[in-house]
């Protein structure tokens, strides 16, 4: 379903030097599979998700989701594909503060170019336990509630794959489990593949497949060695 082949990504530092971040020869996630990618902070987990989502382009290599090789897309095609088929949950929730919970979910639908489905948006918010707070704006919600809105938003367009970037890093332990359960169950129900990156072993232990970034990313492997 998701396949990365010879993906390389590096950043140019202010002094002109190249900083390699990703070098992934092969990596695969099956349809509906739930994978947690573990790695220490700054090892390229977020960059990996950005490359999969088409937010960043790899310097070389191929990223394939189902039958689409997204690395061949134009930027506009990549944007549309992301809107249609990829859900994204951020570490800091990244809800738009001026919009209500319902509008944040509807906003994700807006960019697909299809009519927004208000019923589905309500249904998703009810599923994450926020049916009574759909008209509340993010500042009026707790951090746990905000992340649940973010999960609902990520599922709005019935994506093929959901990318979660440290989704529990900024919430208290009580809410952590709730969010993880929600992500896992929702992805299972919606038959959505889940790629969750975290630095937390506690979070990682809750998933059957745990991939260590240093095992799939040669850069991490090489920098990790003395």
């Amino acid at each position: 379903m998701l396949q990365l082949t010879d993906v390389k990504k590096s950043f140019t530092l202010p002094d002109g030097a190249e900083l390699p971040v990703l070098d992934i020869p092969q990596w695969y996630v099956g349809a509906g599979e739930q994978v947690v990618v573990v790695g220490r902070s700054g090892c390229g987990k977020t960059t990996l998700l950005h490359v999969i989502a088409g937010i960043s382009r790899p310097d070389s290599g191929r990223v394939r989701i189902d039958d689409w090789e997204i690395t061949l897309f134009t930027e506009a095609e990549s944007d549309r594909f992301r809107a249609d088929r990829i859900g994204y949950v951020f570490q800091t929730f990244n809800l738009l503060p001026g919009f209500t919970a319902l509008e944040n979910v509807l906003l994700a639908m807006r960019f697909t170019g299809k009519p927004t489905d208000r019923g589905r948006a309500r249904e998703l918010l009810e599923r994450v336990g926020l049916g009574h707070r759909i008209k509340h704006r993010p500042p009026m919600l707790s951090v746990g509630e905000q992340q649940r809105v973010a999960v609902a938003r990520a599922l709005a367009n019935k994506p093929k794959i959901l990318l979660a970037d440290e989704p529990t890093a900024n919430i208290d332990s009580g809410n952590q489990q709730q969010v993880l359960d929600l992500l896992s169950e929702a992805c299972r129900e919606e038959k959505v593949a889940l790629v969750l990156v975290t630095h937390s072993p506690e979070v990682a232990r809750q998933f059957e497949r745990i991939d260590r970034l240093e095992e799939i990313n040669r850069v991490v492997e090489s920098t990790a060695k003395p």
Partner: protein
């Protein structure tokens, strides 16, 4: 969810700076609206003043002065023309008479409590019209009549200003340099009618029967003292009837004539009134020989021959007796030449205020770009295209401009509503706050263009936002 709603939410999120930006636009637009409306109303009012007649015939000199004096009662007409000229034009004994449908004589130079007094004939309100062929109507009473030598009609505001009602009596006082302060308490005119408001300068004038006016001692007030001193001996030499032609201390022969004949010789007055000048009465003929009028309002036979007004004006202007001015042309020239320039300057200043306020939109949005970049990056991560986020910024700019514009239109018309009574009181021009001008509609595309221009820079910044960097910078 439309782009408008996304942009509106962004505005709501930054409510205070957005409101201040829109308010600054509103102030500029209010100025533009006020200038446009007041100019339009003034222009229309100027044109209204000259309605109902094609030409003004008066003494040789400045056509502008003749028009300002006759139409707006603004200037003091120094020179006069002989009544005989009016008589010849009216009775077909002048070569130009063929082109005349109606000629109305007017005598000015008097006032009552600061309100100009115009001596004329009843046809002023029966033969002439105003403002697109509207007929004069009376709010109270009736028109004055020929046989009521001391009857008068008041304009709507004139009656209020001078405190006159139906039945009120008043004595005009000669104004101007020639006959300062000369009053006629012994010859009071009686108000028999009050005109409905017309929106013309006639609203602020009193109209008296010319017959009664000629019986007042200072009817020749328009003449300069030098001219009168030169004319008086001449009159004495020419005068065949001594009792009527012995002026005393500024009082002319008509004054004495009035005293002598008031209530006694009504038949003579009727003859005068009916313009019976066939030489049956030497007394009347001599009487009229010395009469003078300030101007004549001429309705030409333009409906029969369109160019007749010009031919008529040329015929009068070629002679030495008088000049003929086309009030519409003179007023248009005045308005465009002077008032028009002032309006242009005001309009340019007001538009500059709007442009400066528009730059305020640019500054406001651009300054908030550091905050917005994160929101833009979120939208982009959700699948928004670059062009979409660019459009959101432009729409926000347009919403601010249009919101400010709507506020400005309300403020502008509110300003007119507040200033309206003062304008009406001082200029007799009634400006209604809800008087919208079609030209105001230009504001809508104008503001959209302005907002698009000033919104372009921040929109491009939004377009160029690096999503990954903006997400990780705050994420």
């Amino acid at each position: 969810m439309s782009l408008w709603k996304i942009a509106w939410r962004s505005i709501q999120q930054r409510a205070l700076p957005s409101a201040l930006t829109a308010f600054s636009i509103g102030l500029g637009v209010a100025l533009v609206v006020a200038v446009l409306v007041i100019h339009s109303v003034l222009a229309r009012s100027f044109q209204r003043g000259a309605g109902g007649y094609d030409l003004i015939i008066g003494a040789k000199g400045s056509p502008l002065q003749l028009v300002l004096n006759t139409v707006f009662y603004l200037e003091q007409q120094i020179e006069t023309v002989p009544y005989d000229l009016y008589d010849r034009l009216d009775t077909g004994r002048h070569p130009a008479s063929a082109g005349i449908k109606t000629v109305i004589p007017v005598c000015m130079g008097h006032a009552y409590r600061g309100v100009p007094v115009v001596a004329t004939v009843p046809e002023m309100f029966t033969e002439l019209t105003y403002l697109d062929e509207r007929e004069y109507r009376f709010a109270a009473g009736r028109n004055f009549e020929y046989d009521g030598a001391f009857e008068a009609v008041a304009g709507w505001y004139a009656a209020r200003e001078a405190g006159l009602r139906l039945g009120s009596k008043f004595s005009p006082v000669a104004s101007g340099p020639a006959a300062e302060g000369a009053g006629h308490e012994d010859l009071p005119f009686e108000i028999v009618g009050i005109l409905e408001p017309t929106g013309t300068p006639n609203d602020r004038a009193l109209f008296v029967n010319m017959e009664g006016f000629f019986q007042c001692p200072a009817h020749a007030a328009g003449l300069s003292s030098l001219e009168r001193s030169l004319q008086e001996p001449e009159k004495r030499e020419d005068a065949p009837a001594p009792p009527e032609d012995h002026p005393e201390e500024g009082a002319t022969h008509e004054h004495e004539d009035a005293h002598q004949h008031e209530g006694e010789d009504e038949q003579d007055h009727e003859h005068e009134a009916d313009h019976q000048h066939e030489g049956d009465h030497d007394h009347d003929h001599d009487h009229e020989h010395h009469r003078e009028v300030t101007a004549m309002l001429v309705v030409s036979r333009m409906d029969e021959a369109p160019g007749v007004a010009t031919l008529l004006a040329d015929a009068i202007n070629k002679g030495n007796e008088a000049q003929a001015a086309k009030p519409v042309e003179v007023i248009a020239g005045l308005f465009e030449g002077i008032v028009g320039d002032v309006q242009t300057v005001l309009l340019v200043l007001a538009v500059l205020v709007v442009v400066v306020a528009g730059i305020g939109i640019l500054v406001s949005i651009y300054n908030s770009m550091s905050d917005r970049r994160h929101e833009i990056a979120i939208m982009r991560a959700l699948g928004a295209r670059r062009s979409t986020v660019m459009a959101v910024i432009l729409v926000e700019s347009i919403l601010l401009a249009l919101g400010g514009g709507a506020l400005g239109v309300l403020l502008g018309h509110g300003l007119i509503g507040v200033l309206g009574p003062t304008i009406a009181e001082r200029t007799m021009v009634v400006v209604h706050p809800w008087e919208f001008q079609l030209v105001e509609l230009i504001l809508i595309p104008g503001l959209i263009v302005l907002a698009t221009i000033v919104g372009y820079l921040p929109a491009v910044a939004a377009y160029k936002t690096d999503v990954a960097r903006s997400l990780t910078a705050t994420g």
